[in-house]
Assembly symmetry: C2
DNA sequence: CAGTGTGAAGTTGTTCACAGCA
DNA sequence: TGCTGTGAACAACTTCACACTG
């Protein structure tokens, strides 16, 4: 018990690959094959799959179909979760357009914004409401996931509201550290963190090349 | 030497907080204060700041202005990097609109797409070109960063092109594992990975609550 | 053999403990 | 006493080594 978070993070990439293999009507796949395709360590793959309760046959590998259902099952993809999104700016709209969420077991059922021009419209089948409607819908629908794509300045306020109306998990894209009561799940997706890693690696290689130049 | 990647990932949040403190004209800040604001461990903060070459005074903390310049310096924020973006769909547009990148030392100078309606237009000051223009501009501008926000099906092809025309680092948002020659920096931002963590945690709490119910 | 499966070793990052300081 | 700064203990994750299987 106690699956490592990195294992969980790799699951969607396994699922994507397996769907592809299923379409190509491959019947079996081995961990080393998966590893090569995804740039992972082969035993890492074996461990991940066994966490998910999959089992394969030596010399042959895993049956693609069985493996796919094992992983879907493990990830709870048989039951779809619903989400509210607050902040229908450019990032919010991008997420609303993302059809892949449905395949990955989440559906955005409503969006909220303060922009009067957007309120009352629909995007990709998702209605956009004014913030006042939030309470109303929250009371009725018991949506478990709240997605925050507002400016940083109002993110905490929105998070407090979400908590107040019973959200179980918050997926936060605003670049702030939200303060939440214990028990509420928080997942931050801070785009700048990824950018920072790139910039840092770029600096590293530049430093190395200048060192080589200096040595000569 | 050898700064942990998680430290690098936390840097932008420190920078954001410090900018805020500077605006509020706070002169000093201590690691425990920062830790409380950002939900981090205090000694973690001390270690991170010392990696960045900052130094503070016992009982008082760090001078906000000095700390900010130390971190900016450490992250190479004195020199801005330029980027190409390929795939001006909804996510691509969202990134083009993100003004925060400039503050975090990256500027998108051009976007590319195959949609004829978008080609020739501008978004947020960023011109959108047809793919044929890529080589032309790449040859002239020596842009170090390539951002991929295309559908998964064409991401590898675009990545190959980018490598061919001399990109140093690729920031990939498409849900595929790109295959790149050694030496090219790759940073994946896979949104589904974050979603997977949320769904998994949601399942956990649900399992726990049903267990409690069953015990009664 | 070329795979699965698993315990042990190694690596990386976090948290603790405490010395030094004002 | 409340902070910085750092070495040591700890925890988490990955990689290695190897027994096992068809």
């Amino acid at each position: 018990m106690g699956v490592p978070e990195p294992t969980i993070r790799r699951m969607p990439t396994y699922l994507n690959l397996l769907k592809e293999l299923l379409e190509m009507e491959e019947s079996n796949v081995s961990a080393p094959q998966i590893a090569r395709r995804l740039n992972l360590d082969p035993t890492q793959v074996v461990k991940d799959l066994s966490y998910a309760g999959a089992s394969g046959r030596p010399r042959i590998g895993y049956a693609v179909g069985d493996l796919l259902t094992s992983l879907k099952n493990f990830m709870g993809y048989n039951r779809q979760r619903e989400a509210f999104l607050v902040g229908a700016g450019s990032l919010g709209q991008a997420l609303i357009q993302y059809d892949g969420f449905v395949e990955h077991s989440m559906r955005i059922v409503a969006a909220f914004d303060i922009n009067k021009e957007k309120i009352g419209t629909e995007m990709n089948g998702v209605p956009i409401f004014s913030m006042d409607k939030y309470r109303d819908l929250a009371d009725r629908l018991h949506i478990p996931i709240g997605i925050i794509t507002t400016p940083a300045s109002v993110a905490q306020e929105i998070a407090d509201m979400m908590v107040c109306w019973g959200i179980k998990a918050i997926w936060n894209f605003a670049p702030v550290a939200l303060r939440l009561p214990e028990g509420v799940i928080l997942q931050d997706t801070h785009i700048y963190a990824n950018l920072a890693v790139i910039l840092n690696k770029l600096m590293d290689v530049e430093k190395q090349t200048t060192e080589i130049v200096n040595q000569q």
